[in-house]
């Protein structure tokens, strides 16, 4: 589902937690970044960053759903994701990303972090379009 208002594009995605479907999360990010005028290098950075964002929440899980929201406004894209889980403590524990994921996120996006929404573990990132060659 997506909506467009005053230069903003919002997209929401809900996918079952299956290894072969995480590709959909990065595909959506790449598509939106392309529409927003991001260059190829930025798009590739965003694809990997979104992958790591998802993995930080669902690694080791094979059930439930992952919810993502993409907000594209001006020269930036913000991606947030939440794992559907009734048990806040368990989700928060799983939200501890591993060292490699954190290093990748630190290097590829402008900001990223963790948040809880309605008792569900969540993570978000924000990336601005750079001046690198398209």
């Amino acid at each position: 589902m997506s909506e467009r208002k005053a230069g903003t594009i919002s997209v929401e995605l809900s996918i079952p937690v299956q290894a072969d479907l995480v590709v959909l999360a990065r595909l959506a990010a790449a598509t939106l970044a392309g529409r927003a005028g991001f260059g190829i290098e930025d798009i590739e950075d965003l694809r990997l960053a979104v992958e790591e964002l998802c993995l930080s929440l669902v690694t080791g899980r094979e059930d439930g759903r992952l919810h993502l929201s993409y907000e594209c406004e001006g020269d930036a894209i913000e991606v947030a994701c939440w794992y559907e889980d009734d048990h806040m403590a368990a989700s928060a524990r799983r939200a501890a990303a591993d060292d490699l994921s954190l290093k990748i996120l630190d290097a590829l996006v402008d900001e990223h972090g963790r948040r809880l929404r309605d008792g569900r573990a969540g993570a978000w990132l924000r990336k601005r379009r750079s001046d690198r060659a398209v």
Partner: protein, 117 residues
Amino acid sequence: MDQTFEIGDEEVDGIPVVSPAGEIDVATAPPLRDRLAALGASGKPSVVVNLLGVTFLDSTALGVLVGALKRCREAGGDLPLVIDEPRILRVFEITGLTGVFSIFGSVGAALESVRHP
């Protein structure tokens, strides 16, 4: 979801060369892990991993390669990587793994490093 991913296999002078091609992510890393583990179990101390055909690689893939490297080094061997794509090399750089793996620009150079460590 159909993702194009395959693992090429060959042996050069008794040294296994594993060549994954496509995107290595949480869905496709397990067969690579299994292939590398099988080579370790068959008594091959060193394996060349040719990443020239890889277009995407995430932390799951890095974890698989680090695990295989550890097994190889424990067996007295190595796991040299072949990378020529800057985007792939960058993932190793930002995670600090360029200082952990031996990385070469060609399969020939990687094989040579195994023959003459």
